[in-house]
Amino acid sequence: MNRDKLLVVAIVALSLVAIAAHFSSSATEYGRNNHQWNGTSQFFGAADRHGSVSLFEYDLLSNQPGTMLLIIAPGEEYADAEIQACSDFLGAGNTIFIADDGRHSNKLLEQLGCSVSIVPARLMSIDRAFTHPDSILGYTERSDDMTEGVSAVVLNRPSYVTGGEALINTSILTWEEKNGNHVVDADENLTNYAIFSRDTVNNGTVYILSDPSIFINGMQSLDAEDNPRFILNVLETPEQILIDQVHCGSAGIAGAGSTAYLPYSGLLLEIIATVCSIACIIYLFYSKLF
């Protein structure tokens, strides 16, 4: 193959890579195959390395001793049979870890007999890690395996929980933003809000985290405060981790085999397209085609 053909093939190949990157990325919120900032590909990569198992059917929850079911941002309500399966699962002394901002977990929690409920809200706080008002800080209130070595975590637009034993709270200078003006109004009180709580239900343990965003890629890359330690505590639990793929935002997207995506393909796309275009123009200039 001569040099011309090699060059043309290289240009075409690069173009195909750019197109592949463009079309193969997923933008699903909390998507395990979403490599953008709002996906959970990094967390699921780490979970795979820690031997987690995906759960595609709730019937399989029975006969699973010493297991923790991890539910991240469920996208739909739970059926009665699934709730019963969860109840039996807890009855066997197992653990359920729910990370949700209050969309679809409250029915599950209520029917499990859990005293904790998630209140969808927009919290703001003086105590935040960065200038952005959504980057509020949660401080460890009680010691637990999940909060070992964690003194503060950076949250990302969390809701809050009521009931149970609060493990992580916001500082007292936190308020529920009701009208979106980002300042405390007369009807917005400064107080502590529980972000992460624990409850004992039916001989099992339920953890409720009102900020699933802590698992997204953007937060993983942030590497701020004790977030990495908190994630590690979740993944290094001595129990076998099952990850809900039935209801969660992390499920139902792309195929299991679609792993060859490029992170930050938007930027790469522009770079590749620009380089290829310039190369093409230079090549044409010297090729005497015109």
Partner: protein
């Protein structure tokens, strides 16, 4: 370049073109996510900005400092060390301003911490009044002693009277101090901040007042009793909480009296307040009367022959709440009249106008309290929560500046701190305006877009209509790598427009004539045209002007004549399109293949 490579290039250029335009036409969610700062569930951490240094620890430390500040100031006043007191006060005043700015920036003005800040401002003013009053009491005491030494009992009595009035004013301040303490203590208890030092400052002030009292009455000072702060209920029947602590002092009323009235007795920002009064006594005509509000000159009037005076004053930079207004002329003071200022709501607007071909924006807006423009008011300009400029409103309440924004997503907002800047106006913020400053990629994308389109069009035209676009450079004068591949010798001139060839014989003659002059381009061309015409006349090819030599070859691909035809067509393509001079034996081969081809077609009219 071979046409096949050209087609591949078109393919590559087309793909690049698609890649460039697809982001604008397809997969909008993906690109929204890539470029957007937030979704309904979270914010892209990339726009979190720099680390924040302010936390509740710092805020509570500031609150603790403010609560503790009174103690040292009052202690210095009590010790008559006014220099130390003013130094402590200045630090307290500066910290108060910083704290107020901080909580405005943090959006806490409407919270109980905002109330704490307001009460602290009130406390600061009370402490300042105490400081000024205590100095005046000290000066009057010195005057009184001096007049007594000089035997001027009348002046000594006047000084003593003034000192008594000052004492009364200082006594009232204790009640105000206690009122503020109650409010501050409630809030500080909620946040577990220690208020013991503040309480101790009130005890210290009480002891100081006793000193002043005993110096006025000449009584022997008793052991001070511990002050008990009355609760809100207890204080209800005793507004100042003073009964039982300090006795009244007899008043000497033999002096010039100044009486005045305020109309109305309350106002808002921008209101004109009419002040009318009268001086009673001897020699009251044409005297200058200074009207003070909270120890600051508010207006100046001149009395008439009868001693009456009238002047109007404007409510401008007076904090909301009750203010003490008094007049004095020479050594004569009026009683204090209370004037209350109500807070007005404010509206702060902000508009951004982009200056063309730059990253500059003209920021302009107005500040109004109701319908009244607020003049000379400080307006802070924030970009991404960082203060960039402090602007001042003009007479019509407007402000304007030019702002250069950095690359990325920016939020621009202006803030007016209202009461914390001494105005009887609520703090307000303009609506935040988000501005995304790109990397000026639009121009680059536009150029690439245009270049891609141009390449596709040119290459397509070149391939479909060969020869319709003239070459910008000759085959031998270029500097590109292909130019370095020297042909055996140049082929000139460019091919002439082919004349219709009437018969193969004439065509062969033309071929030989051109070949003798090394004009191989036209030589091979006349043979090709003649061959094509012959094939068309034999109905072996369709009569189509745009028929290419490839199509001619393909027409005989599976024919028994294909070998002969392909030999000729290869030579034709090599010479005519590749412009490669035939080797020594090639002319004979071309002529032979052409003759054989015509023979097989049954057309022997090819001999000269």
């Amino acid at each position: 370049m071979m046409p096949k490579s050209g087609i591949m290039l078109v393919l590559a250029a087309s793909i690049l073109f698609i890649v460039l335009i697809v982001p604008f036409a397809n997969s909008p969610i993906l690109y929204d996510v890539q470029t957007s700062a937030r979704t309904s569930h979270h914010t892209n951490p990339e726009v979190f900005g720099p680390d924040l240094t302010t936390t509740s620890d710092k805020l509570f430390a500031d609150m603790q400092y403010l609560l503790d500040a009174n103690e040292q100031i009052i202690h210095s006043i009590r010790a008559r060390d006014f220099i130390a007191a003013i130094h402590e006060y200045e630090k307290y005043d500066e910290k108060t301003q910083q704290f107020n700015t901080l909580i405005t920036n943090l959006g806490l003005s409407q919270s109980d911490i905002g109330t704490f800040a307001n009460e602290n401002v009130q406390n600061r003013e009370i402490v300042y009044d105490i400081f000024i009053g205590s100095i005046r009491a000290e000066q009057l005491q010195n005057l009184e002693e001096m007049y007594e030494e000089q035997g001027d009992t009348a002046k000594a009595a006047a000084a003593r009277e003034e000192r008594r009035k000052t004492y009364e004013a200082l006594s009232e301040k204790k009640g105000e101090l206690i009122g503020v303490y109650r409010s501050l203590a409630t809030i500080s208890a909620h946040y577990q901040i220690n208020d013991e030092a503040h309480l101790e400052s009130i005890r210290s002030y009480d002891a100081y007042l006793r000193q002043v009292y005993y110096s006025l009455t000449g009584e022997v000072q008793e052991e001070p009793e511990e002050i008990v702060i009355p609760t809100a209920d207890q204080a209800a029947g005793d507004e100042m909480g003073l009964s039982g602590i300090l006795p009244d002092i007899e008043v000497n009323r033999d002096r010039i009296r100044i009486g005045f009235q305020l109309s109305p007795e309350q106002g808002r920002y921008g209101d004109q307040i009419q002040i009318t009064g009268r001086m009673r006594g001897t020699d009251v005509a044409h005297r200058v009367i200074n009207i003070y509000i909270d120890n600051q000159n508010w207006a100046t009037a001149t009395s008439s022959e009868s001693g009456s005076f009238e002047v109007s004053a404007l409510v401008e930079k007076n904090t909301p709440g009750v203010h003490a207004v008094y007049c004095y002329s020479g050594a004569s003071y009026s009683d204090i009249q209370l004037f209350s200022v109500e807070s007005s709501g404010s509206i702060l607007t902000l508009d951004l106008e982009e200056e063309p071909l730059s990253n500059n924006f003209i920021c302009r807006g107005t500040l109004r309290a109701g319908d009244t423009p607020v003049m000379n008011a400080p307006v802070e300009l924030y970009v991404n929560n960082a203060r960039k400029a402090l602007l001042t409103t003009s007479e019509d309440g407007s402000y304007e500046t030019v702002l250069t924004l950095p690359t990325g997503e920016n939020t621009v907002q202006t803030v007016f701190q209202g009461q914390f800047r001494g105005f009887p106006i609520d703090p307000s913020r303009s609506n935040p305006i988000s501005v995304k400053m790109g990397h000026n990629m639009a121009l680059l994308k536009g150029i690439l877009f245009f270049a891609g389109a141009l390449i596709i069009v040119l290459v397509s035209v070149r391939l479909i209509f060969p020869g319709t676009i003239t070459r910008s450079r000759g085959a031998d004068d270029g500097s590109g790598p292909r130019d370095s591949m020297k042909p055996h010798h140049t082929i000139r001139p460019e091919p002439e427009p082919a004349n219709p060839v009437v018969s193969p014989g004439i065509a062969f003659d033309d071929y030989l004539a051109h070949a003798q002059h090394n004009d191989w381009l036209n030589a091979i061309r006349v043979l090709y045209i003649s061959l094509k015409e012959t094939l068309i006349s034999k109905r072996l090819l369709p009569r189509r002007r745009s028929l290419t030599h490839r199509e001619v070859s393909r027409a005989f691909e599976h024919n028994e004549k294909s070998e002969l035809l392909s030999a000729f067509m290869e030579a034709y393509e090599k010479i005519y399109y590749g412009r490669i001079l035939p080797e020594r034996q090639d002319p004979e081969m071309i002529a032979a293949s052409w003759k054989s081809l015509l023979n097989t077609l049954g057309d022997s009219d090819h001999e000269p």
